[in-house]
């Protein structure tokens, strides 16, 4: 059950909600991300991304189709296979870009 306050918090940060939610990004299945609970360890921790990507567009490309950069990747092609929508990807990028 969601408490009203957590619902408001999530609405304030839709990118975070999509990133954490099991039936959306479910990025936590593989990545450690700030306060996310029981993360997997298949991919690297997601933080300080501006130091790893030149710009948001590059980060977006990785999420849209990781197989472009590594054909053997275990990361699903979220945009290419329409696992989440284009708008949702933008929201995820905005959220992740700000994590220290």
């Amino acid at each position: 059950m969601q408490t009203p306050t957590s619902a408001i918090k999530q609405a304030e940060n839709p990118g975070k909600q999509i990133t954490f939610s099991r039936d959306k990004g479910n990025c936590l299945a593989c990545h450690e991300i700030e306060d996310g609970e029981s993360p997997g360890n298949i991919g690297p921790a997601l933080k300080n991304l501006p130091s790893r990507f030149n710009n948001k567009k590059q980060l977006r490309d990785q999420i849209w189709d990781a197989t472009r950069f590594n054909p053997e990747t275990s990361m699903p092609p979220f945009g290419k296979n329409k696992i989440i929508s284009e708008i949702e990807i933008d929201q995820v990028v905005d959220y992740l870009w700000g994590i220290k």
């Binding site: 997997g40 298949i42 275990s74 699903p76």
Partner: protein
């Protein structure tokens, strides 16, 4: 887990190359003399897992993820002390020993009266030209005795499988691919190709999770190795709240990656079981068993 990344990647490449080789073999099936490729696959698999899990012996893989997840192993061991699959074994034994309408028994259909033989399945059925899993052999037996087939997912079938697995406990899996029938190798190759092929909206193959990332965590679940994936069936899963088949588990992993699940005992699943069992040859039967 600490290991040499370069060697890890090389071992993955070895497995992949042996896959490429087999695809070429499928393509040229009639032109090429048959290479001993299942043995090469098996060696590459074992070498890879030995590298990832240096402490595990072959028999340890019988316990699936509990061979590598020390914490989950504790609650699992506690459950195994009062096993929820016990009624299935008893029911299965009763069904197994009940005569058919013609007075004959399941025991008349199998070697050694059907006891201690589950580890030899799946077998290549030369006359049928297809992979014969134990479940299929049970229905083939029924057909020969003029009995209707049992539904593969229903409890009668699962209970008989539970009893036959129980009567084979501890016996190492011993699946063979006869050299005198090229179709057997082709079925194995198809099972293998299925295992490696990316599918579903998430674009995973079985190897993405159970080879490439075995031992790593997907959310809070540690991923098991494919060795020994066929030896603990049927299995009582807490998630199902009942005992179910290996093919039901295959279907669930397909659903997880948003791929289309296939029916139990479909040709694809039987070929997949043939391949996986061959990889797991030597791992002892522990079925029926329990899993989360």
């Amino acid at each position: 887990m600490i290991f040499n990344l370069k060697e890890h990647i090389q071992l993955l490449i070895d497995i992949k190359q042996s896959l490429k080789l087999s695809i070429i073999i499928i393509g040229l099936l009639n032109a090429l003399p048959l290479a001993a490729s299942p043995d090469q696959d098996q060696a590459a698999f074992r070498k890879y897992y030995q590298h990832v899990f240096p402490k595990l012996k072959l028999a340890d893989y019988a316990n699936g993820v509990y061979a590598i997840d020390k914490i989950a192993r504790q609650s699992w061991s506690a459950i195994e002390e009062f096993p929820p699959y016990e009624p299935a074994i008893e029911q299965g034994k009763k069904l197994f020993n009940t005569p058919f309408a013609n007075g004959r028994h399941y025991a008349d259909c199998f070697a050694n009266k059907g006891l201690g033989i589950a580890n030899g399945y799946p077998k290549w059925g030369k006359s049928q030209g297809e992979v014969i899993t134990l479940a299929k052999a049970i229905n083939d037996c029924r057909a020969r005795q003029q009995e209707p087939a049992l539904a593969y997912e229903k409890s009668d079938m699962i209970n008989i499988l539970a009893y036959m697995a129980y009567a084979s406990r501890g016996k190492p899996i011993n699946v063979t691919i006869p050299k005198d029938d090229q179709r057997a190798l082709a079925a194995y190759e198809q099972g293998k190709a299925f295992y490696y092929q990316r599918k579903g909206q998430l674009n995973f193959s079985c190897t993405t999770c159970h080879v490439q990332n075995a031992g790593k965590k997907l959310r809070s679940e540690i991923l098991s190795a494919s060795l020994g994936h066929t030896n603990n069936w049927p299995t009582y899963r807490l998630k199902w709240g009942e005992i179910g088949s290996l093919h039901r588990r295959f279907a669930e992993c397909l659903t997880q990656i948003k791929a289309k699940p296939l029916p139990e005992q479909s040709v694809e699943f039987r070929n997949l079981e043939y391949f996986l069992s061959y990889m797991g040859n030597g791992v002892p039967v522990t079925g029926p068993s329990t899993r989360k």
